[in-house]
Every structure is written in structure tokens, then in C-alpha cells.
Symmetry: C3
Subunit: 676 residues, 3 copies
């Protein structure tokens, strides 16, 4: 599909930024910091997020000193400012006066100390949050340094589940299901006497053993986030100038780094209140730097607003001690963000913090505020961003492959996850395979209206879905689309009730298969190594469905004395399209082969596929209508790459590059070619 | 001893059943289900257990629709019905009105959601439980389909330990010990100032660090279960017809499957209120199917009522995904239950449940209600049960070996367990060895009056026991019995006070040994591999007592530079009998050799012992006074077995079998011979 | 430095003791026990500690029966008595009447059962504790058997953190910091809106995410212990006779045994209220006996009162089952205590306890009260103590090497510990290396006034320290001292605020290095194996600082493609001294080589260093002014040792030993030479 570039009037150049906290400084630093920022090409800072206790030191007493200092000094230096509302960390006085602002979670009442400990739906929280936002907005709204606003930060519902939240949940359930009988039926509550026969009896979901209930509650909690951000957006919008943008800093499912689709937020729904999508992306570096998370997080962020460019509101500079970047890596990372469609790369944070929880999450500067190798490398990035802004800004990406994810399916699947295999594990295995073969990917969810535009749809673990969605997917295939499903797709309906028909339910038709039994593989592999991945990569693990094809062709049978008669992986022609079904968990190599074959079958195997990870290529159209082609070397060894794309000019070196030239790319290095 | 068969007038044929929940059906299924049941030979269903919220949707409002539907339809089809009282899962309205029905445990107040979360001694719970039971009984009591009643389900005290329970516990202690002084002395409460000098000061046992206290509290909790079941039994008995039986579904210590003696219930005491013992038995299958749990659970169940036949009220059909049976296994399992003395095999459950906690605990049917390989195999079982009922019903078992277990010893031992070795681990190692050498076993406990009838008594970890029991065991040996004790037997008295004499206390006399030190073995084995098990199986682990024989013969010394002078395993002639003492934890192979030697020494080594696991044989007398001999192949390879038992007729094939014939048994196959 | 011997008038011979509880006896034992004690040379018992519930069975009702029985019987037998105040385990009635005596910790309200569950600052606890102490003191004070008093036992603050403690903490903070502004600044509380703008808003520290706060709270809790012991000391001092001593039984950081510096007590501060330092030391035995914990615990105990001799108030006899000593080990242990400066070795406990938590923590006697091999060995120790008392009592130790530890640095370091490497791990690695090369060590802390007397100062992980301390250490080097720092030293100030200058901050000057980045090593070793430890021991693990030398000599570079340009270990001449900086975690072998080199460089490499673990030598001056030299063989093999010290007499055998004699030492054996 063709993406629509961000085109936000206020994002008219590549933004290179840092989060900056005048509040946290152990000594006067502002002028010195700005001088060093300018030297590094920093042209934007994010301020004020999480600083409620300095902005409003006592109930109703406001102090804008730090905001004013930063705004004025930045403006003077020509550095733009994003103002963050300060609401994701509550001040001591608020908790002291209104203890109920702290969320009650399944683990009990939260205690003061950490950020993100409040109930975002609490009236006392909302009253004071609104007041402090309005006060800040009234104060700053006409300041010329401000290009946009960030609402809150990494917002979630933080598992808030106390009595007040329960009341709202019951109201939500009344509105959605109308009668208890329909809930009892849809959720199967007769089981273990969980039936609810009166609204007053509605039990807390906290200790529910029913995944229909817990998944609905998770959905309700995601809706709380959507509603909360829309509420903040409405407030800020009353004050902000039209050319100033609204964004949020969404984060990802965290596995020690930005790993997968966020389970607690419906990014597509929540981002509707925003002008520009914003995300934070954190990832391992050193020998473990692959670019995967940058690409994944970027593809999700870009897809939030259907292809519009996005902001990387936070990413690591030095980060955790184990992430201190090798020479070249900070550059490689920065341009990798741009290659996925980012218009801003902003580090969290400028300087390393001298006290508290994130002392060892290091910024661009160490605690000593002196230049260091990471800062020195940032200086080269800042210069290149400035020089190449007009070539690289507002990249338009065109992808023919999309991954269909679903927050609902994720909640449901994870309630019954086989072994340790999470929804995001299944999704990432498919995503990572496409990344390695240099196939660009968009993300769609069940609300997306443009699903049908893609040539290939990759569908991990679509465990819970309404009939309408599955029928739509069948139609998509019938009309010529290609789908690759993982196991467990189609298994239950939108209420996480297992379908009462033969599995995989509605999609059986397009897939040409059925099964009614499944088991956990022990010493099972794929018969005769059908994907030629070698015996070490040919195993089946964690989950296997015992599939019988009806019209499908079998791509792989199980190799096992008992289960050998069942199919593991199948492919079916249905109408003008093809549905591939992967009925088991297997290796990265097998998944990659299946997806590569589908890319070939779809006629999408092109020049980019002649390259393979660690050589990664990304491309898009720039505002001049030219193709920008990035070539990245995600390895510690220099590589020689045969350049088979169009003739063009390498922008970093400003040298011509012609088709079939050999390009030498340094370890952790990159090339950027504007094709003619 | 000679078992007394169940002979309950209502169990006059082999019962093949399923748990059935009309309540849980996502659509009308009753007639279709009954048709499929009949095709599978299902002749009994259990209904209504756990369905309180549908039977009594609101306080005092009763609705017997589902019970009536099931009773009438089953009756029409000639299928018998067991009614379960619905009390093991409480409805939402009860918790809403009477929050104190939820138990307070050491982890705090339970929350609504799971089953088995209530305080079974709570007055509000008892009042409403009694009322719903009476209402059901009044309604169904004369229905001709009913053959019996199940009280509650898998009942335990669920760790209830709140203030009300504490009050009852203090009353129990007053009644049992009369004076605080006797408690202080018996429990050693002077230690760490735990002395109780006034009944009002009696502290909660929840955080006691005194195993005398915690073991007594565990005993009190087991008594709660016994009392609760007797209370339900009395209620149901007011209504039930004399030929209808009363049973309970006891379960076992759970280790992912039915593993050992139930720690929370005194099965022998609790089953006194019942007519027939009932159990659930769940176990791994596929390559891990051994028959061990079927045999173990069956032997315990049969022993509950001193040899009477029992009901398997629940066992798996498909079960967990990893337990989907291989072809042949469902049959092998069903007949294995019969071979241990079961008169009924009932699956939990008919159909797989579409919502909630047990979605992946699959029944005979999958979620699609269609025939599947497991159901198809059940059809053959149903036919064979029907055809062979008169040969196989009411099997009388005669065993010469018994295992003496003790709930009291278990609580006490587990309070001080060495390493990770639980009481059931010690017991199962001994049980499993006997199983593998085809020695049939009964279970006895300290209340059993017929202990003396056995030729061999196997006594695992009899850690806490009164003088009277140990003196009785000494007398048993003196009179010609053979005992095999494990380590830690005899160590403390019934109050878990370590005996102040030389160890192993009173049984030193029969064992002819003493010790006062023990340690944890490191690089210790049995000297010179006395049991010829090979170096890999000759190690001592986890626990070793430094034994000096007085009159005993040493079967094994430790091999260790320092501990080498001490005995590990001894045997002593005492009176007309022999006491063997195993003073350390060691391998399965060593335990098996010791027990095999004892079987030989007792003159019990017979034809059955020519077979060895995976070939298992079980036998008993049928009602015609003939020996029924089962031969099972618990392996994936067909086996040829030299049949050295009496001439007879193989019932499945209806062919003659003569002594010294070779029998071919399929993988996971079986033979059933009625000897002449 | 020259130690000052204890010289307490009441410790005029080697004390060999046991803890004795007449209260716990299952039957009358007193006379029999005393007879066996006398046979074993026991000349002191500790009684009454933890027996509150027998001394005061009801509120205000006192019963001194057990104390009187023990005092009188012991006195008659010539056995001295140490009276322990009974306050570390509270009676049931106290908790029943005053539930607030139980501490509220971060895990919630404590429950009755275990010892050490109270809030030591609680008024109700203090009132009743004072009363029972006064009653006991009034009753016993003139009894001639008593040589001293032990205050409480293993006292800590037990994480008490409830509202009352919080109030006291806020008062403490007011007194220390005066203004909230100074706290906000010092602790960096602007971060995440943690700023406190009013004393009423001061949040609980329980869920703080700020290590400045949590470290200060830990310090406050340590102060509670110091204050509490001083309070008890003042009470007891009102009654006790001048020649009777006051002591406490301090314990160590516990890792299944006495492992390191106690995190919850400031031993140096708390021991100021005492006459004699007392400790308990527990350690593995059998093949794992090394003497390390005896030496470590002894060196800390001796250092508490700047070199004065100390009492081992508790150590194991049989101990845990896995600690039953091999023949010889109990002797080796006893004399090892003396060799570190102990004047008493007292076992916990005389007999093994028949109920409750410590049933398997065995005393000198087993539960059967009979002689056993461990008791038999104790008899030889008692005899030798008696015979050699005048040679071995009041040993004066002279050490040239000290380890500087800091409770403040420990709390702070552990808040940010890299990987699993605790402060004590870093400290013990350095201590253990010195032990193995037979270098005697004292301990100093930042309050010590005699730091400058040592030739070498070993400084593990001095993570948090005020400027004054670091400047003092720089001066120490400048004046000729030798320091060996580990990584992370100097990093933050006394408020755990990371220093804003180039690292390692103030000590950069003496160390001649700086760094601003650090990372976690992956596949990193020391370049070219500079310490010749072999490739298996040359790795860098867990933490590495990227050091650039300014004036320092590089002892080791990292071996890594990227980090290879940075120094790992450096040494700098500064003034007349030398500062060595170890910028990474590495192997025991490397640490030992670095410290051995420093010992050589300091001219301290002597005859003792010709011996190496498992041959350990310790020495000191006895009261006759002669050198007592201990030689220990910590192994299961006899060793031949070339004796290169001065001529003398071996005291155990009473034989002459001359320089260059070969000495044969048994497995787990020892020699004691009084040099001429």
C-alpha cells in the first residue's frame, strides 16, 4: 500500500533530540548543556514529562521555573521543545491527601514510590491531573519554542482493579452485553458455579479463572488507556496551536527490551487521539545488535496511523551498562530508525541521573557531563541529519506484506499459552524471518480497513476472533490474497469461547484442513526435512495440531511413530488465493523458508532478497519522489555487497553508486543511496 | 488377606461412564450426546456436581431443569445416573451475601473465582449447602435412573485457618490435651518462648515454626474433612433409597498427576461415611504411560474399605494436550483399572469445555462434539465391558504384602523433609518397585486392624508414631512378620517430639541397630555394590543414618573414607520374623532388589515374578470363583510372553490359552485369561 | 598495629562452653548433664536467652525456677554462667495483649510464631522487655556463678517499617537534614516526582525506588539496633558487678553459613555499649571445611573493639545434618577460633532439641543424651583448653594489613549490585585471597581512627563515601600507604548521589586513572594473562570499567576487539605510596596474585607466606610475651610442613620444634608452637 507521509507542518526537518530535565540537575548546567547539544546537532528536547512534583510542589501551588528556564534557553539556542504533561508520576502531597489515587491491583493497594502506580480512572487523580495540565498549558501555550506536546508517558492501566474500577467494568459489561444471561452464555459461566444471576453479585475479575472474563477485563483496561489519552488530548487541544502536534510515547511489550506488541494498550485505537505516533524503542547492542527491534517498533509505529511517519520519542544512548554501544552502532541505529519511517530520533536522556532507579540507565552524557565516545559519535549523526534532512525526511514506505495482529487474540492466546510460547513469540518469529530476508512489513489489526490491499497477510495465533473477521479473511483469500496462519488461529470466538465446529473453525474452508486433537510434541520432527533446514532445525516443539487435509496440499507431515499420519503444515488453493497453515511450533529456519516461499509465490522476490541478514536493506520514497535505499551491516565484520539496485548517489560520502558496483560497508556501518 | 467384594446391589455390572453437564452445553445436545454415549457403551453418567449456581441461581430460588432433563433422558436411554451434591463450587450470590464463606488461609482471604475456595466449616456455607442438598434430594430422590450419590468433590479443608477455624482448633486442643501444660510439654513450646500459659493466648498456627503444632493442625484440618463428609452423608441418607450408594471422589497428592497419598485428607477415616470408595486417577500417557498411577490409586482406593471394590469416578479421556492417548492406551487404561478392583471407569468428562479453566483438559469428545480416535476407541471398551461384565465385575484381590502409610507420619516427615525427598517420594519408590516385579499390594494405616495378616509389611518413613504402634510392629515381627522400614522410621512420637532414647527408638529392638548421628551423603555409595546394581545405581543420596548394628546383619555398608564404618542397610532376625532397615535414600534399583529379596525370603516369589515391567500381570477371583488373570504390555513394542499360569480362556479373543504357550501382546495391549 | 588484649578480670582462662536450656528438657537432666559437661571440660554455660515465656509465664508473673536451678547447680559444679536477657523471642501473652509489638515490615504485619518478629522500638515491647530484664537482674545479680551478661541475641531491626517507625524516621531525617530542600537535593527527589515539599507528605520508605532513601533508612534501622543495645546495656549495668562483662552475640551476613559483614547491624557502633565483643560463627564442615569463616568472623569480632579478644558465643557442634564433623574437625575448629583471638568457644547447644524449628540443628549431644563421636572429641578439647589456657589466653595479634569495610557503602552498592555480585562477595574474594596466602587481616571502617597504621589497606566496593573519607584515603597513599581498591569505589557520595566529576571521583587523583563508561563483559579476559593464572582463571565477569590511565601504570588491559584499548587494572605511585585499582570483577586467582604482589611490594612477604592453604598459620603474642604459632591442616590428607619459624615447643605434644624441622600434621590436624 502507499503510505501517507506525516507532513505535519511542525516536523519540517529531521529531528534529533534528547529528553532534558533541568529539574534533576545537581548543579547549574543549562547553558553548558545547550552548548554541548548544539555541538551535537541536537535540535529538539522533550521536557517536563514526569515532573509534577516540581511544577506543583503543593496542592494548587505552581512553579514553572524549570519549564521557563528550559523553554527560554532552548528557544534562544534555536532548539525546539516538546512539552510532556507531567502526569505519569504523582507527587507525594497528592497521595498523602488522596490515598485513593494509588491503584488497587490484584497484588493489593499500590504504595508510593514508583511511577505509574496510580489509578488513571480515579476522580481525584483526574481532577488534579487536569488542573496541572491546564495550568501548564495556560502558562506555556504561546511559547515559540514548542513544536508539540506529549501526553503523559508510556500510559497503561497498570492493572488497576479496585472496587471503583470494578463498578465501571460492570457498567461497561451492562452496556455491552445488556443481559447477564448473554454474559453467562457467552462466557460459559455455568462452569464451576461462576454463573452471575444478579448485577450486584458481579464478582471481581481479579481472581477469575475464566479467560473470557479476564480477556474482557483486559480489553476494558485497554479501553481505559484509550479513553484517558483522548481525555488528555482534548484538554491540551483547547490550548495548543494548530501547527503544534500531539503525540504519545507508546512502548512495547517488554522482555528486557522492546519485544512485541504491547499487551496493555490498543495502540491503533489509542493513537487516534494523536497527530503523530510516538514510541520508545530499546534494544540490546554490542554483539547482540540486530536492528530487529528498531525495525519492528518502527513498523508498528508507522502502522498506527496507517503509514504516516512517526517519532522515536525515546531510545537509548548508552542505556544499560551492557548496552554501551560499540563504535558505529549509535549511527547505525539512528539511520535505521529513519529507514523505517521515523522523523525523529530522541535519546532518553541527555545526562545520566545521579540518584534513584535509573542511575544505571545512562544518557548521552555520563554522570560527569563530559564528552565521551558515545556523545562524540552523536555529533556525527547530528551533522548528517542536518545535512541530509531534505533527502531523508518523511520517507514514504510501500509494503506488500502485512502482519495481522490482534490485542484480543493476544489476551486470549496468552491465557492458554502452550509451554512458554507467548503470542509475541509467535508473532516475532514470523516478523523476524521477514526482516532477515529483507521483506518490508506493515501491521494491521482487525479494525484496519485496508487489509485487502496487501498481497500477503501473515497471521500469528489469531486465537480469538469474531466470525466476521474470519469470513473476511476467507474472502481475502478467495479474491487472490495469500495468508500464512500459525497454529491456534481461528480456535475461539471473540468471547474466547472455543468454536463448537471442527477446527480451525471458519478458516477451515480457506485452509482446506481440519483437526480435533492436538498434543505436545515429544521427539517429533518434520518428515523428510521438507524445507531442507537440516536435522538441528527440523524439530517440532511445544505444540502440534493433528491435522487432516481435506483439499489442502501437505507441505510437511510429522515424523513420529504414532502421529506420522497427520499433517503439520499445509497449503490450500482457495478461489484465486492461497492459505498456508502452520499447525505446530517449529524453528526459525522453517518459518523463514515457508515465508520466503510465499514471497516467491506472490512474485515479490526481488533484488532486496538477494541480500540477507546481517545485510539489511530498507527503502522508501523521499519528498522529492526519489527512492532512498538504506544498506546496513549489522555485524562486526565489514562486508562487500553487490549493489543490484538502481544507479544513484551515496549520500553520506556524496559519491555515485551504479548498479552492480561492489559496496564495502564497515562493521556496524551503512550506506544511503538516493536512486536516480 | 481376602478382600470382601463390593456387592452393592446397585453395582451389578461393570459401569462405563462419563461426567455430563447439560448446564455447560453451548447448544442443545442432550439427545445427540445420548445417542453417541449409547454407541460407546456408556451406561452411567455423573451429573450435577459443582452446578450450585444453576440449581440455585438466587438465594432460595431453585431450578432443577438441567437435572430433570438429564435424569429423564438418561433413564429413557437406560443410562444410570450418579447425582453429585453441588457444594464444591459456591455461587456468586452466596459470596456476595456472606463474604465469610470464603476461607481465610495463610495467604490471606480467598477471593471469588476458583472452586474450593470456601471454609467448609463456616456456618453460612453449611446452612446454604444443607439447604441446596435437601432441595435436590427432595426433588430427585425417587427417580429410577439414580444408582447413587457422590458427596461434594475432591473435598479438602483448603487450608482454611481464619479466626473461626482457630476457635474450633482451640476447642479441639482443649478436648484432646485437657491442660495447656500437657501441650507445652508435648510440643516443646518453651523453645523460643512459644509457651502458652492461657487459652486466650493460644496463637494462630498459621505462622508456627513448630512442627508439633503444624502437624496437629494438619490433623485437625483432615478431621474437618472427615466430619464434613459425614455431615453430608447424614443429610443424603435421610432421602436416598437403601440400594443407592453413597460415594466420594477422593483425589491423590498431585504432582501434575495423581502421585501419592493425599496429604490433606485421611482417606481411611473419611471413607467410613461412604458405601463405596471412589477416586479420581489422572496420569501421563503416550510414551510415559506405565500403569503405575492406575495401580497405586486403585490399591489405595480398594484399601479404603478393606478390599471392597471401588469406583473410578474420574479419569482422563484425552486429558491435557500432552496426554492424548496413543492408539490402544485408552483400552489398556480401562482394563488396568478393573484389574486393580474397580467396578467403574468414568471419564472426566464427556465433552471438552468451551470456556474457562479446563478448556484444555479434554473429554472423550473434543470441542466439536464429533467422533475422534479417542472416542472411537472408547466404543470398543464399552462393548467389551458389556460383554465381559459377568467375568470381570467384583474382582476379589488377595495380597500378601501391605504398605503401612500414616497421614500423621507424612505431615511430620514433610515438615523436616531431607532435601526434596517427600514422604510420597519414599513411599512411591517402594510401591513402584513392587509394581515392577508384579507383587500385589494393599495399603494399611495405623488404625487398620488386619495389619498382622500380611506376610510382608513395607513401612516408608514412619516418622511420627505412638509407642503402641511401634510396639505392635515389633510384635508383628516377633510373631513371624517381615518388615522393611525406610530411614527416619520411629524417629519421633505422635506429637512429633523426637524420641529421647537411642534411635530408631522402639523399633531398634526388632531392627537390631542403633544410631545417634546422621548426615547428608556427598560422594557416598554402597560398599562393594552389594545388590549388584552397577555403579550408576549404587549411590546414596539426600540422607544417611550412621548405623551401628547390635544384632542385625549388615546388608550394605557405606563406601566413604570417614563413614565407611557405619551400616547403611541392615536385616535382623527377631523372634520368628525379620526386620530390614534401609538407613539411607538410594536408587530405585537398590530398593527393588531389597524388596525382591524379601519377597523371595517370604516364599512369595511365584510365576508372576517371572514377568517384569513393562509386562504387568494382575489377578483376582471373579464372582464365579475363577481366577481372572490380566496381562498388560506397558510399552510401544509388541512383546512375546511365556504364559506360565494355569490353562484358561483369553476373554477378549475368546480363545484357549494353555500353560507354557507363548502369548503375543500388542504395543499397549492386553490379555485377560479366565483360568480354569 | 598492636592489639590490646581483652584483660577482662572475669575472663581469666580459656572458656569452653555450651548454651544450656533447662527449660527445654523433656525430662530431668540437670545433674546428668553437668556430670557429662565436667567430663568434657565445659567450664561455662550460657542460659536464659530467649526464655521469656518461662521466666514470665503471664503478664507480671515471674518464675525463676529454671534460672535458679541452673545457676545453683552450675555453681556447685564450678561452671560459670553467662545470663542472656530473654528478649529476642516474645511470649504469647505479650502479643495477645499488645499486638503492636509485632513489627510491620514491607511484607506486612508479622505474625506470632518465629523469634525476632517484634518491633524493637515499640513502646509496649520496650516497657515489658525492661521489666523482665530488671526482674531477672534483681533476682540473679549477686549470684557468684555469673561471669557476664549477654544482651538479647543476634539483634537486628528485622525490617520494622510501620507507621510508628516511619514517624521516628521522619524525626531522624529532620534532625539530620534540617530542611526538606536539602533532602530533595541530596537524594535527587525531583526524579519521577518524588520531591517532598512538606514533612507531612513524607512517604514510607517501604516501596521507595530511590537508593539514597533506602540506604538512609537502612542506616536508620542500624541505628535502631545500636540504640536498642545501648538501652539494654544501661539497664543491665545498673545491676551488674563491675567484674562481670556485658556482651552481645552478633551474627554475620548469612548465606547458609556466616558469610560476610552483617548488613543490618553496624557492628563497630553497636559494640561500643559492650565490654567484650561476642559473635556466632557457623560454617560448613566435612570436605567443605576451610577455616575461612572462623578466620573471617574472628577478625571482624576482634576488630570491633580494636584488637581486644572476643567470645565465640555460638558455634556449631554437630550443627546441620550435612555439617556433622569428621574426626578431628571439632578440635581443628576450636583451636582455629583461639588462633584468631577468641577467649571462648561455646557451642550452640548442649543437647539437640526435640521439637520445633531447630530439631535438625544438632548440639554436642544428640537427642538421646548419650555420648557420641562429636562429644567424645569435645572431651579432648576441654582437656587441652584447661591444660594450655595460660599459653593461649588473650592472644595479641599484630597485623599490617586491614580491610576497610563500610555499612553505608554496602547498602548503596547492593542497591545497584551488578549481576549477582554482592558487596560481601567482593569483600570475601579479597579476604579469602589474603587468608590463603596466610596474611593476617584486621577490619576497619570509616569511623576507625587507626586506619593510617596499616601498611596495606584493602578497599572493596567503597561505593558510597563522603569526600572527607576519600580525601583521607588519598592522604594515606600520599604518606606512603598502599591501597588496593575494587571497582565501583568512590562512585557516589554519602547520600548515594553519583559524583558529578570524572570517575572514580576523588580517588582518581591517587589512582591516576579516569573513566566515564562501564559495561558488562561478554567474552572478555585480561590481555596476555598478565598474572599467569591460565586461561580458565583469566576471565573478566559481571562488571568492567573502561579505564584510561592518566599517571597510572596499567597492570592489565582488557582482551576484546572493542574494549581492548581500555585498562582493567592499574597501579599508581602517588606521593610515597601506591594505589592499585581493580576495575573489573575477575577470578579469585587474579585477585590473589594482585594482593600477593602488594604484600611483596610492602615488604611483608615472610616465612608465613611460604605456606599456602590448606596449610594455614596464625600467630600472636601470649601473655608471657611469647609468640604462639598455630599450624593448621585444612585438608583430609596428612601434610609434611617445613617449619621455618623460630625454635619452640609444640604444646599439644609437649615436644621441641626447631627451625627447618619437618612437621607432620594429620588430616584436619594442628600444631601449636610457643616460640622461644
Amino acid at each position: 500500500m502507499q503510505s501517507v507521509p506525516a507532513q505535519h507542518s511542525n516536523v519540517n526537518k529531521l529531528l534529533y533530540g534528547v529528553a532534558y530535565y533541568d529539574e534533576y540537575m545537581p548543579a547549574e548546567r543549562l547553558e553548558k548543556d545547550i552548548k554541548m547539544m548544539k555541538e551535537a546537532g541536537i535540535n529538539v528536547v522533550r521536557i517536563a514529562e514526569s515532573t509534577w512534583s516540581t511544577v506543583e510542589p503543593q496542592d494548587g501551588v505552581f512553579d514553572f521555573t524549570h519549564i521557563d528556564r528550559a523553554l527560554n534557553a532552548m528557544h534562544k539556542a534555536g532548539i525546539k521543545v516538546i512539552i510532556g504533561t507531567p502526569t505519569y508520576a504523582v507527587p507525594t502531597w497528592l497521595v498523602h491527601k488522596y490515598p485513593d489515587v494509588l491503584a488497587i491491583t490484584p497484588q493489593g493497594k499500590n504504595q508510593y514510590g514508583p511511577r505509574q502506580n496510580m489509578d488513571i480512572s480515579n476522580n481525584n487523580f483526574r481532577f488534579h491531573a487536569e488542573r496541572v495540565i491546564r495550568k501548564i498549558m495556560e502558562h506555556v501555550k504561546d511559547h515559540p519554542a514548542i513544536i508539540g506536546y506529549q501526553l503523559d508517558n508510556e500510559t497503561k492501566a497498570y492493572n488497576t482493579a479496585g472496587p471503583e474500577v470494578q463498578k465501571r467494568f460492570v457498567e461497561y459489561m451492562k452496556a455491552k452485553f445488556v443481559s447477564l444471561d448473554s454474559i453467562n452464555r457467552a462466557f460459559g459461566l455455568d462452569y464451576w458455579s461462576n454463573r452471575i444471576n444478579s448485577w450486584e453479585d458481579f464478582p471481581s475479575m481479579v481472581s477469575s479463572i475464566n479467560a473470557s472474563q479476564t480477556s474482557e477485563f483486559a480489553k476494558f483496561q485497554r479501553k481505559m488507556v484509550t479513553d484517558y489519552l483522548a481525555w488528555q488530548a482534548a484538554i491540551v487541544t483547547e490550548y495548543k496551536h494548530p501547527e503544534q502536534f500531539l503525540t504519545q510515547n507508546f512502548d512495547f511489550d517488554w522482555k528486557g527490551f522492546s519485544y512485541g506488541i504491547q499487551t496493555e494498550v490498543d495502540h491503533f485505537a489509542a493513537s487516534k487521539a494523536l497527530d503523530i505516533a510516538g514510541v520508545d524503542i530499546y534494544h540490546p547492542t554490542q554483539d547482540a545488535l540486530t536492528g530487529l527491534e528498531i525495525s519492528f517498533g518502527g513498523d508498528v509505529a508507522r502502522s498506527m496511523k496507517a503509514g504516516k511517519n512517526y517519532l522515536v520519542l525515546e531510545t537509548e544512548a548508552q542505556g544499560f551498562p551492557e548496552w554501551v554501544p560499540y563504535p558505529g552502532q549509535l549511527r547505525l541505529q539512528a539511520f535505521s530508525h529513519l529507514a523505517s519511517g521515523a522523523n525523529m530520533v530522541e535519546y532518553w536522556h541527555w545526562h545520566s541521573i545521579h540518584n534513584s532507579a535509573e542511575t544505571y540507565w545512562k544518557g548521552l552524557l555520563s554522570h560527569d557531563f563530559e564528552p565521551n565516545p558515545t556523545y562524540d559519535e552523536a555529533k556525527t549523526i547530528g551533522k548528517d541529519f542536518q545535512r541530509l534532512s531534505s533527502y531523508l525526511l518523511n520517507l514514504t514506505k510501500r509494503n506488500e506484506v502485512a502482519i495481522l495482529f490482534s490485542n484480543e487474540a493476544m489476551s486470549a492466546y496468552n491465557s492458554f499459552r502452550p509451554g512458554r510460547l507467548s503470542y509475541n513469540d509467535v508473532l516475532r518469529q514470523m516478523y523476524d524471518a521477514l526482516y532477515k530476508i529483507n521483506v518490508g512489513v506493515d501491521f494491521v489489526d482487525p479494525t484496519s480497513t485496508h487489509i485487502e490491499k496487501y498481497k500477503i497477510l501473515v497471521v500469528p495465533a489469531l486465537y480469538a476472533a469474531p466470525d466476521t473477521l474470519l469470513e473476511r479473511l476467507n474472502r481475502y483469500v478467495k479474491n487472490g490474497g495469500r495468508i500464512v496462519y500459525s497454529f491456534k488461529s481461528g480456535f475461539s470466538d471473540q468471547n474466547v469461547k472455543v468454536r463448537t465446529c471442527v477446527q480451525p473453525g471458519i478458516i477451515s474452508e480457506a485452509c482446506g484442513i481440519n483437526y480435533s486433537q492436538f498434543t505436545v510434541p515429544q521427539n517429533v520432527s518434520l518428515k523428510d526435512d521438507p524445507f531442507l533446514v537440516g536435522s538441528g532445525n527440523n524439530n517440532v516443539n511445544t505444540w502440534m495440531e493433528l491435522i487432516t487435509p481435506t483439499t489442502a496440499k501437505v507441505l510437511a507431515y510429522y515424523d513420529h511413530p504414532v502421529w506420522g499420519k497427520y499433517a503439520a503444515i499445509t497449503q490450500n488453493s482457495y478461489g484465486k488465493g492461497t492459505a498456508t497453515y502452520i499447525g505446530c511450533a517449529t524453528s526459525n529456519q522453517v518459518i523463514e523458508k515457508i515465508l520466503a516461499n510465499e514471497v516467491k509465490n506472490a512474485g515479490l522476490w526481488g533484488e532486496a532478497q538477494k541480500l540477507y541478514f546481517p545485510v539489511i536493506t530498507k527503502d522508501g520514497l523521499n519528498e522529492r519522489g526519489k527512492t532512498i535505499r538504506y544498506l546496513f551491516n549489522y555485524s562486526s565484520k565489514p562486508v562487500s555487497v553487490l549493489y543490484t539496485f538502481e544507479n544513484g548517489r551515496e549520500l553520506l560520502s556524496d559519491k555515485a553508486v551504479n548498479k552492480n558496483n561492489m559496496l564495502e560497508i564497515d562493521s556496524w556501518g551503512l550506506k544511503i543511496i538516493e536512486e536516480q
